[in-house]
């Protein structure tokens, strides 16, 4: 740069766009947006298949009991299917609820309280659901045989 070049005069500083959450973590909202875009279509496939298998095939809602769930979770495919569905749905729904809290809860303490409750609910449900899927016993020893899937007879 030479002394003769015209001096650069910056224009008036434009105000940073207001972020509803009030948080300044660059890129965080973009990741939230990306996550919704990626998890959404995956959830469409996972959930519509879940609904079709459970409510349309066989006897629909009438067939759902302990033996039905045990029959499904005997296959790792359905354990992983339900686990992925659980985690993605809770994170997708939790992130959506976070955006709604940002939009409608205006007082800082209320927003903090709701965000806290949401975080506890999302984490709690994911942990509980995961434990249920991965520690599930289709043939509990003290259970009434008539309520168990038929393959439990061979196990005993």
């Amino acid at each position: 740069m030479t002394a003769s070049s015209p001096e650069f005069v910056p224009g008036p500083k434009i105000k940073e766009p207001r972020i509803r959450s009030g948080r300044v973590r660059p890129g965080a909202e973009q990741w939230s947006w990306r996550f919704m875009r990626i998890s959404g279509p995956i959830l469409v496939i996972l959930i519509l298949t879940h609904l079709f298998i459970n409510l349309m095939t066989g006897d629909g809602v009438s067939q759902i009991d302990f033996a039905f769930v045990a029959g499904k979770w005997a296959a790792p495919l359905w354990q992983w299917w339900d686990f992925l569905m659980l985690a993605l749905a809770m994170l997708h729904g939790g992130n959506g609820m976070r955006l709604l809290i940002n939009d409608y809860a205006h007082t800082p303490w209320l927003r903090k309280l709701l965000h806290g409750a949401l975080g506890v609910a999302v984490l709690g449900i994911i942990v509980l659901g995961s434990l249920v899927i991965w520690t599930f016993d289709p043939c509990p020893v003290d259970a009434d045989m008539s309520l168990l899937p038929s393959f439990c007879e061979d196990v005993r």
Partner: protein, 111 residues
């Protein structure tokens, strides 16, 4: 604008159902009897209708979400976004027409 409201309302409804749905399914870890008792209430007419509404909410949220993605990614979809809103409602009607007779048959008919 209306689809924005539909997306929010259905999203919140699905979120709260999901919380309840994980809790009721967790009863399989308590005992077969506990699970069957609670899930039995899902087979009553009132819950049967609530489930039908829930399935409708999921279909709306799913296909409206796909519409939003399409409109963001393609100028064709942006130019035809009004028709795509219609497509969302038509998909809802078609899928519910397939689902409702079967589901309500199970709930009310004992078929």
């Amino acid at each position: 604008m209306w689809m924005w409201v539909v997306h929010r309302v259905t999203g919140v409804a699905i979120f709260f159902f999901l919380l309840i749905h994980v809790l009721d399914t967790a009863l399989v870890r308590v005992s077969p009897e506990a699970y069957n008792d609670v899930i039995g209430s899902y087979k009553t007419p009132i819950y049967g209708l609530v489930e039908a509404g829930l399935v409708a909410a999921i279909i709306l949220h799913a296909f409206n979400g796909l519409r939003i993605i399409a409109v963001d990614h393609s100028t064709w979809a942006l130019r035809h976004q009004k028709q795509l809103v219609w497509a969302v409602w038509i998909i809802l009607v078609v899928l519910m027409a397939g689902f409702l007779p079967r589901h309500l048959g199970h709930v009310f008919g004992g078929a």
